[in-house]
């Protein structure tokens, strides 16, 4: 019985580890372009590190970019 518990715990830890690594990789794929978007908009590139927050991180970054005034200027919507 003890062995079974140990196995389950071990496999669970391994699964969590893989999950964490996969999350980091996916976040990195998102962070690199977002870093550039943030710096071009005039924010610190570190804002893109919110992608590391699971589930809601991407929404935070998008909300900041979407609802704040960009320090480097925006295309005026009057033109369209």
């Amino acid at each position: 019985m003890t062995y079974v518990v140990a196995w389950i715990l071990g496999l669970g830890t391994l699964a969590l580890l893989f999950l964490a690594i996969a999350h980091l990789l996916v976040a990195l794929v998102l962070i690199i372009p977002t870093w550039r978007i943030c710096t071009r908009a005039g924010f610190s590139g570190a804002l893109s590190l919110f992608h590391l927050v699971p589930v809601i991180g991407s929404f935070i970054v998008m909300a900041v970019l979407a609802f704040s005034d960009w320090p480097n200027g925006e295309a005026s919507p009057v033109r369209r």
Partner: protein, 211 residues
């Protein structure tokens, strides 16, 4: 059993509702972000809605990378022009772009002779030969240019003429050869001195000009 199924359905329903709200929120924010760069907002909306289709999340991911590194109309120098994109009907006419000027005539190669002056002598280097030797000894041949000075080697340096340009090569002398004050070593090989102002052989300074 029915209770479990109902709970499962409710869970799925809740998850679906959350996913729907999240997608709409993301699409709206993407529209706003893309619009701030000067691109049409529906492009951002479409990119988010693409996640709902069979192409999954790879295509929106690629689009995110393209968006991050592409040229943004916001950064265009012509952004002050009214009516970016389709000009509104009845609006002010867009200024006509300036027409390109005719290309200038190709410059002819300067075939004038070169003149080395200084230390009481003036040497003319015309294009009658391709190679001249600068030496401290009296000139024995027409391609030898004599610079009578003890600090000038025998021979000292070589002048090369090709396509209206003048080259200088040091022949490894103790006095040394200098182009505008910079030492020219034999291992440098021939150097183009067409734009140089002066060369120095040993202690003899020679100003370079066109004859």
């Amino acid at each position: 059993m029915g209770v479990e199924i109902a709970a499962l359905m409710g869970f799925f329903g809740l998850t679906s509702a959350f996913a729907l709200v999240a997608t709409i929120l993301a699409a709206w924010m993407a529209w706003r972000i893309v619009e701030k760069t000067g691109l049409p907002g529906w492009a951002g909306l479409g990119a988010i809605l693409l996640t709902l289709t069979g192409v999954g999340s790879i295509v929106p991911l690629v689009l995110l990378w393209v968006f991050a590194f592409m040229r943004w109309p916001r950064d265009d120098p012509a952004r002050a022009l009214p009516g970016y994109g389709a000009a509104p009907a009845g609006g002010p006419p867009r200024p006509t772009p300036p027409r390109a000027l005719a290309r200038p005539a190709a410059a002819l190669a300067d075939r004038r002779a070169w003149k080395l002056a200084g230390g009481g002598l003036a040497l003319i280097v015309d294009g009658s030969a391709t190679t001249y030797v600068l030496t401290g000894a009296p000139a024995a041949q027409p391609t030898e240019l004599s610079v009578p000075d003890p600090s000038v080697g025998r021979p000292h340096a070589r002048l090369l003429i090709a396509a209206g340009r003048l080259g200088l090569e040091d022949l490894g002398t103790a006095g040394g050869t200098f182009i505008d004050g910079a030492r020219l070593l034999p291992e440098h090989g021939p150097r183009d001195i067409s734009a140089a102002r002066s060369i120095r052989l040993g202690t003899v300074e020679l100003a370079l000009s066109r004859a």
